[in-house]
């Protein structure tokens, strides 16, 4: 039997497990400042992650989804995107969000239960973190459509997890991106797990990237723990989006070294052994070895970086903890542009109730 269509999914990896180049590196890697920036952002992201978990464990933060082991993805997105591009993130993209201008304190505010964590930078067109799995994908297609309609030169980047690829929104967004030639880059953080459900229970396909084929767009798979490969794939996809109006699906294969969130206990459904093995592939050590190999990094630089990261994170935490609660009527004030007359009395009731709760609290 002869098939009508054949396809192959390209796979990219530049650094081996020890951080040694396997292949000739892309030209942009000659920019050593960029290489260092990648490393620094990954380390900062992990420093923040540890701190956020500590805050949660001590009752100072709500449920928080760790990015442990997946730092290369958010970092490379944040560094590869241009200011005029738009990011439509899910909840493991704090690295990208901060690189695009959000403060760490805002990330903490969000997970600390404060709507002001929805990105206060009034100039940003980025969407806030998306919790209902995969719904961000069709919105991102809408953002990219707006760019096309307005003749805007930018691209839209949207992220999701491996579990999200099972939802209709994922396939619908890829499909329309193909039909309309949208300047869209879809990045899957394939961390092998959707809470307790492993990838082989989400899909029978050999890769997630191949789902692009059915939508008529390009799909590539990269080693998501190799920051060179992730950045390069993003760079190429962004170029294609901006100049050729072509969408790309990038599957970044990585591993969730943490629990799903601080409310999860992954030991219920996966072995320590599996986790231990995956620690050998994690992105930061690999990249440090790479920088060592290029003689771009030494122990002193490492010390200084760790100290700086700690300082940056501490400053964010201080700002977060010092933030006074928002006025309670804000829960009504941002519902519509103007408070409808019919809500005035409920607005008053909210103010009164908050005041009485405050009084009781102080009295107790």
């Amino acid at each position: 039997m002869r098939g009508r269509h054949r396809f192959a999914i390209p796979f990219f990896r530049y650094l081996d497990e020890e951080g040694r180049p396997e292949d000739s590196l892309p030209l942009w890697t000659r920019d050593h400042d960029l290489l260092k920036a990648i490393y620094e952002s990954m380390v900062l992201t992990r420093t923040f992650d540890q701190k956020a978990i500590a805050l949660q464990r001590t009752g100072q933060l709500g449920t928080y989804p760790s990015t442990l082991g997946q730092e290369a993805i958010g970092t490379c997105i944040g560094l590869a995107m241009a200011a005029e591009d738009v990011l439509v993130p899910y909840y493991r993209d704090s690295a990208a969000q901060v690189l695009r201008g959000m403060g760490w304190e805002e990330i903490l505010l969000y997970w600390g239960g404060d709507e002001r964590g929805g990105n206060a930078n009034i100039h940003s067109r980025d969407l806030p973190v998306c919790v209902p799995v995969a719904t961000q994908l069709s919105q991102a297609a809408g953002v990219a459509t707006a760019m096309t309609i307005k003749g805007h030169a930018g691209a839209t980047v949207v992220t999701c997890g491996d579990g999200a690829t099972s939802k209709g929104d994922f396939l619908e967004a890829l499909n329309v991106a193909g039909v309309w030639h949208l300047p869209l880059v879809v990045v899957i953080n394939n961390n092998q797990w959707a809470i307790s459900v492993p990838l082989d229970q989400q899909t029978a396909t050999a890769s997630l990237a191949q789902k692009a084929i059915a939508a008529g767009i390009d799909g590539v798979q990269v080693d998501g723990n190799d920051a060179i490969a992730v950045y390069d794939a993003l760079n190429n996809a962004l170029e294609k989006a901006r100049h050729n109006a072509q969408a790309t699906l990038i599957e970044a294969v990585t591993y969730r070294l943490s629990d799903h969130t601080t409310a999860d206990d992954a030991s219920r459904y996966r072995s320590q052994d599996e986790v231990r093995k995956n620690w050998q592939h994690e992105p930061i050590l690999r990249f440090r070895n790479f920088l060592h190999g290029l003689e771009l990094w030494d122990v002193e630089q490492e010390q200084a970086l760790l100290q700086n990261c700690q300082k940056t994170v501490d400053a964010g935490v201080d700002k977060y903890l010092a933030q006074k609660p928002e006025a309670p009527e804000a829960m009504i004030d941002y519902l519509y542009e103007f408070v409808p007359a019919s809500l005035e009395s409920q607005r008053e009731a909210i103010i009164a109730k908050a005041a009485s709760l405050n009084k009781n609290h102080q009295g107790a």
């Binding site: 919105q139 990219a144 459509t145 307005k150 619908e172």
Partner: protein, 350 residues
Amino acid sequence: MARQLSLVRSDRDTENEPSGHQENIVEGTLVEAVNLALRHEMSRDDSVVILGEDVGANGGVFRATVDLREQFGPLRVLDTPLAEGLIAGLSIGMATQGLRPVAEIQFMGFIFPALEQLVCHAARMRNRTRGRLSCPLVVRVPFGGGIHAPEHHSESTEALLAHIPGLRVVVPSSAVKAYGLLLAAIRDPDPVIFLEPKRIYHAEKQRIHDNGQALPLDTCFTLSQGTDLTLLSWGAMISDCREVVTKMAERDIAIELIDVATLKPLDMETILTSVRKTGRCVIVHEAPRSGGVGAEIAAEISERALLDLKAPVSRVTGFDTIMPYARSETVYMPNTRDIEHQIENTLGFG
């Protein structure tokens, strides 16, 4: 290679735009009024974009968007792939970037895949970004029974939407109302679900002043003054209510007919003022009885005007059952006799 879709912004789009004061009077039906309003707003505002299934070459299955693609080009009238969740999600993404999308969902029975986007995102975008982003989108949805349509083509599930904080739910009851309210909905800075009563899409031609004048949202319209009873309804049932009001007037019964028009947020002040005057109230809607918008209005009246009431507030509604297929739909639908009967009961109370 250039972008495949390139914005067609022909001169006539902007130059032949009717000025705000120009009086262009059109005799038109409700669905024609929708088309007029869309055309007017697309001429006036480049950021208004239409999207949905079959809205382009076909002009929509009810012809609401007819000829708009010819006039404004394929980048402002987008035939989407067949996916309602996508249509809503696209609209949200577009709205956050400064466009004013007007999406069409072909029938209310098919809106459900879009609900997640509307409830979890459109309604919340302003709130969860503390005003940084907003969702000035309109979702137009033909709804209601009475046209002998197939299964899933006749439902009235407005209460599902009217329950959601952050949404506006608007229902026109005539061609003139459709024109003015749709303009208002498109100009509104927040998401509006615009429910079009398809039973009266072609019912009556009215003189529509195509002058770009919007009608107010969040406001009921008092259609007739009266002191004996307040009759509340919206959408297609307003036509039946009007008939009853005329008939009752011949019997010297003065009914105050109020077109609720915006179901979310509700203009209870107009309703309460009327009920305080008449002391009697009947609410009419096609949707099932329990948990309908009528229940909300009745509860508000009982909380805030109990002592002004001379009779219990009562409802004439569809039954708490699945919308029957065409052969039995007249049994399900409230009719003028049901309304009359309930009015007589309410007037005779006590």
